[in-house]
Symmetry: C2
Subunit: 260 residues, 2 copies
Amino acid sequence: MEAIGEKSALGSLSRPEARAEAHRCGCKPPNGLAAPDCLECAIKELSVCGALDPDEFEALERIGRSLCAPAKTTLFEQGREASFVYNLTSGALRLAKLLPDGRRQVVGFALPGDFLGLALAPTHMFTADAVSPVKFCQFPRASFSHLLMSKPHLLRRLMEIASQELTLAQEQMVVLGQRSAEEKVAAFLIGMRERYARLNGQCVYVPLPMTRLDIADYLGLTVETVSRTIARLAREKVFVVVPEGVRLLDVAKLKRIAEA
Amino acid sequence: MEAIGEKSALGSLSRPEARAEAHRCGCKPPNGLAAPDCLECAIKELSVCGALDPDEFEALERIGRSLCAPAKTTLFEQGREASFVYNLTSGALRLAKLLPDGRRQVVGFALPGDFLGLALAPTHMFTADAVSPVKFCQFPRASFSHLLMSKPHLLRRLMEIASQELTLAQEQMVVLGQRSAEEKVAAFLIGMRERYARLNGQCVYVPLPMTRLDIADYLGLTVETVSRTIARLAREKVFVVVPEGVRLLDVAKLKRIAEA
DNA sequence: CGATACTTTGACCGCCCTCAAGCATCGTGG
DNA sequence: CCACGATGCTTGAGGGCGGTCAAAGTATCG
């Protein structure tokens, strides 16, 4: 998985295949290379940007760029220098840590509004791959860090997001450490539903842009167990499996399993 | 487990047994009820306070109190209102989340220098119990939060700690999700060793103030498995079990197992 | 259409959990 | 001082959940 454009205008984007991002992700201008239009941004209230004044938006727009990329693009890789911080505006990312022997732990999925770069570390702590076509804003880490110190509002907001993220990580520890396969899958689906509900409103359709393997590596299970568990829950009429997701039939039952 | 002194000068400390904290924890004045002496604090460089100027120390001292408590004291409980934030200066705490059916996930152990209250949430996300006699500083959450906004240095430092904590939580997800029992125990011991090394300097003796059950609930295992795994590693001469901890014999081997 | 990646299903097995019992340590009270 | 109960730790025997291995089915894309 070589990194193309490490020194290109795109930053450290890379893809296993190659080229032709422009028409594949449908961005105009090609690759969506443009200053972000923060005031028009659909998810700004749900994101870091939510805490900003109009003049602060301008400061952000000046240092940032709006980009897009097709599925399977690697935004950045674990261990590499963290040159940028990111804000996802559309699509979904898989955030994963790789072990030397090939095992993988997915530490989260980023959805629109999510901020990447909370770690403030000089290198990335995990790899971020697009599991669907994505749009996102990209800010040079140094500029962003500098902006932080002059805008206590922004820093405070980032701190709130970091602590929210920490709380979520601790919830996930409970899932990984204490729950059965069925409980894990149920908790995952309820979690995804709630996250999409904040974006699109409550809905019985839960999108699952990631693969079964991604889910398995997120829950500390194998693909087979995830597949079997989903199949069983579908057989028990808790939901039906539809392309790219599930349609919930018995939300109460799913919640009961998840919160067991 | 009733909370004594919810409205007392001590804040929300509670213990299953009762009274007599003064001589049992050996604090003078009784209960260690005193303004903290931040400038004299042994672990200030390793803690939040590390980022402060002398005048900022004074501000902290004004709003805070130095306290101590014997083992098994509950500093605060999951779900209760978070009236205070804390800074541990001595001893160790178990931070745990309880499931409705009695299962428990230990989300971490606090050691001297660790800050509690990063979540910035109105209620506590986990229960904090002393696993050994502890000394700590306590700050009213509102005053502390207010101080934060007037001291960008302090906020920035807290943000760094939060992101460090988040990174650690993601590491722990890898341990919980991907590693075998033996790898979990090894990773735990290496982790504890490193944390104590920052406090006391590198040393082959690793203190384990918590019980086997605490370790098990931290690693997503059972007591029996933890006990058996420790016994096996001891049999293989990786370490010897000593009161309140282990003495490492083969650090390299332990690291090899942990990082597998 | 053929290649590739993803998903599902089945059969088997092993790691870790469960259940049970014995042992060590410690604080308490007679 | 020792008896005791409580708490924590260890060890053994057996079973089950989820992992492993294998193969077939399905969708996607060049």
